[in-house]
Symmetry: C2
Subunit: 204 residues, 2 copies
């Protein structure tokens, strides 16, 4: 069982459902305020607090960032999680904000996936996994699309079964988005041999 770390980012506020299953919670900047909405405190805070200006509860450890100032808050939090062997990561409040931040968050998730983590970016409408050389088994969800996209130049040996459009040991490319809006025909099994695959479930 991989150790689970939840990272609450500073995108738009969204549900933190499931955060109680995390072994460790990191708040990035405004994510601290979002946690407070749930009456939760993080185990660690990360960020320069350019987007949160309220009171911080005494005693919350804060990550010192001087040697990593080129990192985004998200990258700094993910590095900390990986360094401490959390390989099951959930990113909350990653959507809905600035497009450059969103793409930075996606690439930070790819960084974690490239180092062996399973990463999930989730809000009330979207549930996206980033996996590298791994497998997901996903029960059908009602009124929900299932999309599979290569995030690296290539994803090799991609197999998708239990869906309307199936693939067997296919190569997907990140310049050829053919996997958008698939549908369940049972339990979906999704495997990738090499490369980082994004598996997104979005309410429709």
């Amino acid at each position: 069982m991989k150790k689970h770390c939840a990272i609450v980012l500073g995108g738009l506020f969204s549900t933190l459902d499931g955060i109680d299953t995390a072994d460790f919670i990191i708040a990035c900047d405004r994510g601290y305020a979002y946690l407070k909405e749930y009456n939760l405190e993080p185990d660690l805070m990360v960020g320069d607090f350019d987007s949160y200006h309220g009171v911080v509860t005494e005693g919350i450890p804060t990550l010192d960032l001087p040697t990593m100032k080129d990192d985004t808050d998200t990258m700094a939090a993910i590095r900390y999680a990986l360094d401490n062997e959390y390989l099951d990561l959930t990113l909350y409040c990653a959507f809905g904000g600035r497009f450059d931040h969103l793409m930075g968050n996606v690439q930070a998730a790819m960084y974690a996936a490239s180092r062996g983590a399973v990463v999930r970016m989730v809000n009330q409408d979207t549930d996206s996994y980033f996996i590298n050389h791994g497998e997901l088994i996903i029960e059908p969800r009602e009124d929900c699309s299932l999309s599979v996209l290569a995030m690296t130049d290539e994803c090799k040996n991609v197999t998708v079964t239990g869906t309307t459009y199936e693939l067997t040991n296919a190569t997907l490319k990140n310049t050829f988005p053919i996997g958008v809006s698939n549908e369940w025909q049972g339990t979906a099994h999704i495997k990738v041999g090499e490369g980082i695959l994004m598996v997104s479930m979005v309410n429709i």
Copy 2:
């Protein structure tokens, strides 16, 4: 001068400013309704009209999609534009909708960039260019961030000048988002030798 094609997608409605400079306008599905808000008609319609159910003006050509049913509407529109030598593409109404659609649009933009087009995804808050082996010169914009991200596994020979953080013939990776939220120090010059680079300007 590259021929300019505007493609109006079905994400959230957003400004179509600048669309009058296009040599050709394609509407994808709900994008047709967005064009009508501007009292404009497209030169071509693409899509299966699962998101637009209103009246279509008689005589608007519609792309027949049977042989490309695996394509998203965006990909079909982009293929048409490239086949007709439009290498300056602007994608409107690409943001704000479903995350899987957004990522599909980003990868469709990457497809066009990989085939020599300069692609722009734009709304009132965000102005993102996708370039492959090319150069951009961007005057300073007030209250705006400037982010540079590798969209392929690597972007080689990336040079960024006229900004707070500069780069010279650097290699950027899509698993290492270091280029988020740069700032102008004059006119920004951004070059990429190999790989697809995203240059995003976002209002802050």
